[in-house]
Symmetry: C2
Subunit: 110 residues, 2 copies
DNA sequence: TTGACGTACTACGGTACGCGTAGTACGTTC
DNA sequence: GAACGTACTACGCGTACCGTAGTACGTCAA
């Protein structure tokens, strides 16, 4: 089980990388995150909705109304050019962070 | 340069892993963090002092007064058995987080 | 003897983001 | 017509890192 603290700061990265493959909607994104993490992390609805709104506000994604299989129509999100660029920066930063943290824990058995 | 957002949640891990080697004091810890990160990250004094107090409150480290080369006497921090255990858990969680995030960014060039 | 410098802290408010809880709303199906 | 699944919104909380600022103490040079 991965705690929210550990994942903090990487929700945007997860969402953008999923939207990089194809447009999607919040509910599906949540299911994909659950699946990709091997069910180790279940994102909260509020967290995800806040995240996509934040991304939209930053022009990293755009939204459009799409059909729904049942119930209310869905809001689909699509990554923008800005979003792709931002994703690449985040990935670069992630690689840096990884190597730095790894340098600290060298020799620590887990 | 690594942002505070990227490092967030891993200050405790960094501090504990340094204290695992030997007892140290806040000022030195800050310098070591700066050095180990290859000067990519400079922790703020407030962040570090807050962190060691938090760790002490959680009984993951203990403190004792030691001599100073000059000026005020230093407060040395030493890792406890609880701290070692906590560190190992954090390291395990870090490995999980790494593999999960990496799964998302597969295929994203940085 | 004073005042600049390095070291060792403390105080306090700001901000971001993920969470908890709760509620609304709509369409299909039984 | 009500239960169920899907699709959201509202609101406030806690944690942790940051920014700015100030205090305090000892040494050393002028």
């Amino acid at each position: 089980m991965i705690s929210a603290d550990a994942i903090r700061g990487y929700v945007d990265l997860m969402v953008l990388s999923l939207l990089r493959e194809r447009p999607s909607y919040a509910y599906e994104l949540a299911q994909q995150i659950h699946a990709v993490t091997g069910t180790e992390y279940t994102i909260k609805q509020t967290t995800l909705y806040t995240a996509v709104k934040r991304l939209e506000g930053a022009s990293l994604v755009t939204s459009y109304a799409g059909a729904s299989a049942s119930g209310k129509p869905r809001t689909y999100y699509q990554i923008t050019a800005n979003g792709l660029e931002h994703l690449e920066q985040k990935v670069a930063e992630w690689r840096d962070t990884k190597s730095v943290v790894d340098r600290f824990i060298e020799g620590v058995e887990a």
